[in-house]
């Protein structure tokens, strides 16, 4: 009976959008593995993968095929359910984050206006934080259920690192929220559009003066994604292979894949929070829409956000192949004694400036 009350167009629209975003994340993650190897090769003056297809473009497919057909080994003395749950959680939490991201201006299909955002919830950015804080469980459960002391150590390292850096990240974020006055992702983007200098002046990083805040956020994002120089959870010279040591086949693939999806999504989140989201610099979207139509503008804005996110993914890779790994006590010192006080300072200064300008 109650099925009749459901707006079918709404459900189909959202399902299509979710499918598109999940596919996009997957494809980006797939080609990020290829990109990572090409970037590493470029930095180390090598050629990189070039055998499978033109320029080695089919390399990710070959890797995926290999992972699917490898033998699956589950340690006898471990909890089988938790062992399988670990990579599942890592993957699910990586994909869930994208639900609140505004990917572009609204599309227009016939009469309907389709916003390029799955859920424009009131608490958007907090939702991202909630999902990120759950990302710890994949690592912890996987590492513990492996029943291997190296995995356990790596899991505990990874979890304490993620919990510690979440604090500084949240404090850097508060400054952005004070500038915007809203937790809603679409409002955060809207407040950064238009303005002087082709729109650059209203971006939170320039107009809001959040350069310090962005740097803190960026460092914390590196730590949250377990990327070098903070990849203590998989430090191979100390812990063999870290928390996914006992994993084989596609379960290992899920862990590695989740890392690349996290990289892409954190790039998207950073662009949304600090770099104007889908706002195209030096272009007035509303004026452009009258020339080429609303749908083309939506596609262009999406491509703009995509490009911004990919730049961040590239910077992540660049850092990985340039900067050596931290020691664990250095990592904790940086997080608790440097980043948190700096983030607090940034927060107070921003608060004072906002208060002063509003009077």
């Amino acid at each position: 009976m109650f099925l009749l009350a459901i707006d079918w167009f709404f459900i189909i629209e959202k399902l299509l959008l979710i499918a598109a975003i999940v596919t996009l994340s997957m494809v980006v993650a797939m080609y990020a593995t290829y990109g990572e190897r090409k970037v590493a090769a470029f930095i180390q003056d090598r050629i990189g993968p070039n055998r499978a297809g033109p320029f080695g473009l089919f390399q990710p497919l070959a890797d995926g095929g290999k992972l699917f057909f490898k033998e699956e080994i589950i340690p006898l003395a471990s909890s089988k359910f938790l062992f399988i749950l670990g990579p599942m959680l890592a993957m699910i939490t990586a994909l869930l984050t994208s639900a609140v991201v505004p990917w572009g201006t609204a599309l227009k299909v016939g009469e309907h206006v389709v916003p390029l955002q799955v859920a424009d919830v009131n608490i958007g950015i907090l939702y991202v934080f909630g999902v990120v804080s759950l990302g710890v469980y994949g690592i912890m459960l996987g590492g513990w259920a492996s029943n291997n002391k190296f995995s356990l150590l790596a899991a505990i390292r990874g979890a304490s690192q993620m919990v510690s850096y979440e604090l500084a990240m949240g404090m850097a974020l508060i400054a952005v929220l004070m500038l915007t006055g809203s937790l809603q992702m679409s409002t955060i983007v809207e407040s950064q559009r238009g303005g002087a200098l082709g729109g650059l002046a209203s971006w939170n990083i320039f107009g809001g003066g959040q350069i310090l805040g962005f740097l803190i956020f960026f460092i914390c994002a590196l730590a949250e994604c377990n990327r070098t120089p903070f990849d203590l959870a998989e430090a191979e010279n100390e812990l063999n292979f870290g928390y996914h040591q006992e994993y084989s086949s596609m379960k290992l693939g899920f862990f590695l894949f989740a890392e690349y999806i996290n990289m892409f999504i954190s790039g998207v989140i950073m662009s949304t929070l600090y770099f104007g989201g889908y706002d195209i610099p030096f272009v007035n979207e509303a004026a452009l829409a009258t020339h080429i139509g609303q749908n083309w503008v939506a596609i262009l804005t999406f491509l703009c956000l995509f490009a911004k996110a990919l730049i961040f993914v590239f910077i992540f890779m660049w850092i990985r192949w340039t900067v050596p790994r931290f020691r664990f006590d250095q990592l904790m010192n940086l997080g608790w004694k440097r980043l948190i006080p700096l983030a607090l300072l940034n927060m107070i200064i921003t608060a004072l400036v906002v208060l002063w300008l509003k009077k």
Binding site: I6, S79, I123, G130, S133, V136, I156
Partner: protein, 166 residues
């Protein structure tokens, strides 16, 4: 039956079922997981009452931070093989009686509240939205709020003092 009511009952069954799992599971790690699922179900209830902020804070603080600490302790103490079996029969009986009393009190207290009328406030109530909550906290309840934050601060200072090396 409305779809929100169906959701309400599904969430309720999940919450009670996983809460029972917390108590009955042999392996303490499963108990922690059960508690996390309970938190999720309760957050779902908050969302049904349009208290999105409470829902997400419940997940960030409880499921995301406190339960991680629980897992830390359990994993490091290696309680995995259910070594701790409760042998003392008297302790079990006393526990059952105490829990039963608490249950009775809760049922008696909540019996006459008007839960039946507004199980669900989808998109209507706004007490749980961040704006209303912030306004209430900083106007009506500002003194309890500040006292609570002083309490947190002193707890943090205490933790630092205890954790500091000699």
């Amino acid at each position: 039956m409305d779809i929100t009511q169906v959701l309400f009952w599904v969430l309720t069954v999940i919450a009670i079922g996983s809460a029972l799992m917390v108590v009955t599971a042999r392996n303490p790690v499963y108990s922690v997981l059960g508690l996390i699922v309970t938190f999720f179900a309760i957050s779902g209830h908050y969302i049904l009452m349009n208290a999105q902020f409470l829902a997400i804070v419940n997940i960030i603080v409880y499921a995301g931070a406190i339960m991680v600490l629980f897992l830390f302790v359990i994993m490091l103490m290696n309680l995995s093989k259910s070594t701790e079996t409760l042998k003392n029969k008297w302790l079990q009986i006393v526990g059952a009686i105490a829990g039963g009393c608490l249950f009775l009190v809760l049922v008696a207290a909540l019996k006459n509240t008007e839960v039946k009328k507004d199980l669900v406030e989808m998109g209507t109530g706004n007490i749980g939205l961040v704006k209303e909550l912030g306004r209430e906290l900083f106007t009506t309840f500002v003194i309890p709020f500040e006292i609570a934050s002083v309490l947190f601060l002193s707890a943090m200072v205490g933790a630092v003092v205890i954790g500091k090396k000699e």
